[in-house]
């Protein structure tokens, strides 16, 4: 066998994911340095096109440069290709891992869906992934068409409207969060139609592909015995709750501050849009530096939690957060088992959530200290916001991205990468595989807290 193929076959899923992203970043840097990518007379430093590539592949959307003033139409098209590379990569790899986990533990819905598609072989898996890519492209195209026709009222030519509509749809669905208006969604702060379309596209991207697959299987109605998996129930419930809590808290904190001159529906939409956006979308409809510091710390916490696993979003993921909360509630009640939706959470998943949270907190803390030393003039709230935004692959910023030093840019790139790959994959890639302990020491209690 070809030694390279043999090596690829020996990769663990985690190593495969990390390798894919490294490769994708390499290709993206190449694409962003093709001739004709930049507008006439614009020069971009290597570190900055590297940053744009990492940001686009990880579908984060943080940007050290103004996209609308830097890239030509061809360049914007390339950026869209890279967003697809990131988005589809996540989707395929996410689905692949989901199927793998399903195979190992005999997930009932997976089996049903597999049967549904007659997919017991590798080619079956490939077919399923192709079908999912079709779903994504369909969503993007639908969004693009709706936005294009709507945008024809703002632009002189249809092709201009189409470019903006297509880019907006791709950017929202992949949760890329880049904008070619130069002002994110601020020009549409009174346009609820555009906002609603964007929120729907963002949610479809961030809710997780297993959820989309199960909803499709449910809607098809072919399997009488179909039930939603525990994963889908937990992640959807958590996602919904985070959106609700996010909207209510942002509204409460800003009602008499940055929202004070708004009508009730303007304020509601502003709160709702930024709550949705904090899951992973990264678009804004107003200048968020106007928010109170407390609001921006709250949004940082939301971005740190991030979106569903196997979605275009990052962070510690909804399920990690949900299990931590469920664990805490059960522990305070003196229960040893976590029961939810008539199912019991397994111990290994409690352990995983613990590991992910501890590691994520260390990373954010370390990055905060490092950045506050390397960028002494930047306010700490903006630094924490930037860091959690990168780790959550969200892309909102308090406007400091282009002021970062080279060290700061590299640090944010690493955080976007880790946020994208996911800490569990990262942990296993560093730490290797599970090993069995050969002998046991006697156990002994320790006083905690």
């Amino acid at each position: 066998m070809n030694p390279i193929i043999s090596r690829i076959r020996n990769l663990t899923p985690a190593q495969a994911i990390v390798s894919y992203y490294f490769l994708a970043i390499g290709i993206s840097v190449g694409l962003l340095n093709l001739p004709g990518v930049h507008q006439d007379g614009v020069e971009v430093k290597f570190i900055d096109s590297m940053f744009t590539a990492v940001s686009a592949v990880s579908v984060t959307g943080l940007s050290v440069l103004n996209v609308s003033e830097t890239y030509s139409t061809f360049g914007i098209f390339m950026l869209m290709v890279i967003l697809q590379l990131g988005g589809i990569g996540i989707m395929s790899l996410g689905t692949f891992v989901w199927l793998l986990v399903g195979k190992k533990i005999g997930l009932r819905e997976r089996q049903l869906i597999m049967m549904d598609h007659n997919q017991h072989s590798l080619s079956g898996v490939v077919n399923l992934i192709i079908e999912i890519i079709k779903i994504l492209l369909l969503i993007e195209l639908l969004g693009a068409l709706i936005l294009t026709f709507y945008f024809t009222q703002f632009y002189e030519t249809f092709s201009q409207a189409f470019i903006h509509g297509l880019f907006a749809s791709v950017s929202a669905t992949t949760n890329g969060g880049f904008d070619i208006t130069g002002q994110s969604m601020i020009p549409y702060h009174n346009d609820y139609f555009v906002q609603i379309i964007n929120m729907i596209l963002i949610i479809l991207g961030a809710i997780g592909f297993p959820v989309l697959i199960e909803i499709k299987a449910f809607l098809s109605g072919k399997n009488k015995n179909f039930r939603f998996s525990l994963f889908t129930k937990i992640t959807t419930a958590t996602f919904g709750l985070l959106l609700l809590v996010g909207t209510v808290v942002i509204l409460a904190l800003e009602m008499f501050k940055s929202f004070r001159d708004m009508s009730w529906h303007e304020a509601l939409f502003a709160a709702m849009f930024h709550s949705v956006s904090s899951r992973s979308g990264g678009l804004v409809t107003m200048d968020i530096t106007e928010f109170a510091q407390g609001t921006n710390i709250f949004i940082s916490a939301l971005m740190f939690i991030g979106a569903s696993p196997s979605s275009v979003g990052g962070g510690i993921r909804t399920t990690t957060f949900a299990i931590a909360i469920l664990f805490l509630i059960n522990f305070a009640r003196g229960k040893n088992e976590i029961q939810i939706f008539n199912r019991e959470i397994q111990l290994i998943d409690v352990f995983r959530s613990y590991a992910v949270i501890i590691l994520a907190i260390f990373m954010v803390l370390f990055a905060t200290i490092a950045l506050s030393i390397s960028e002494p003039t930047l306010p700490i709230t903006a630094i924490v916001f930037e860091i959690t935004s990168a780790f959550g692959t969200c892309g909102m910023s308090l406007g400091i991205t282009d002021e970062l030093s080279t060290f700061g840019k590299i640090l944010i790139m690493v955080l976007m990468f880790v946020g994208r790959v996911g800490l569990i994959s990262f942990l296993f890639t560093i730490g290797g595989r599970t090993t069995k302990t050969k002998f046991h020491y006697p156990k002994e209690r320790v006083i905690i807290g």
Copy 2:
């Protein structure tokens, strides 16, 4: 039986601890409002004497007023009584809980020590606690004498030197962190002798009483079979490592900044003293607002971790931190058991550490958002520093304590109380006792991170 005594006997240990502190705070508020406590013409608002009482009982040391300008010599004596009430309370309750846990799980060293003191009855436990109080008072007296004789060179009369020496010793040993110079330890920033005495006293208070008891048992040499408990090994190792890492990082971050005009030994002592102080002492030898923001965030993290369980310090405690780190390392290596010092950590202790960390992070995050909304003019680094200082019952401050609104003061009081009682006790007091689940749901896996 007297119904009140019967009620007290039915308290869980956690409820007993919470009740003790409530009672102690009540008594302390009374003591601080006795006639003659204040200097002539000084009026103190109720919320402020309440704050001082909570700060002294929890041996935190945060202060909304200038102790040296507010309290008379009698008042300072009362403050010392309250620090003892807090310090001895912690010591006795800590030892009691330690013995209780030891009884339940048959801790070998506990049995040896109990045999050593012929203490198989309640009166035996009381005797042991009395002996520990003797140890504490001995340490304080020794410290007081050394400092008094040393201070005679600075003060005109012996009694002045004695008052300052005694207060300094009590404040350091109980980790109270109050000062009657009005400038903490800044006047002694070049006096390494006073600093070393203070550091030793702080460490003796913060290392945990079980550790002191075991060292005493070890030194007595009566038991040939004596070995240190896993708890003592873990907490001492973690304590030492935190001191070391704290010193090195503070030195590295400030070497070319606030330490740039210092000689190497001045810089080393400054780094060392604030590292020791961040465990729980709360004294400072320089104006710490001169530290870089990154350094103060790092110190916040150290204060959040805090000191040993069953010590005069607070925070999540060294053992909680140690188990989290050990868990993470083992998890990354793919091991399911945590092995350290030839012993295995029990699952319940891993769970406890998880619960404590999650709850503590929520508290700090909630408090940060709340304070940044209620005190919009204060910088966020100072707010986070104040919050972690209160939760870690450390008492260092970036100087905002007396600028807090009434809401802010109440919030900081709650944090000092929770930090003192410990989150595990807090959790069980709210959540009640352990209950057994009657039936099990099927288990199902969830995708994490």
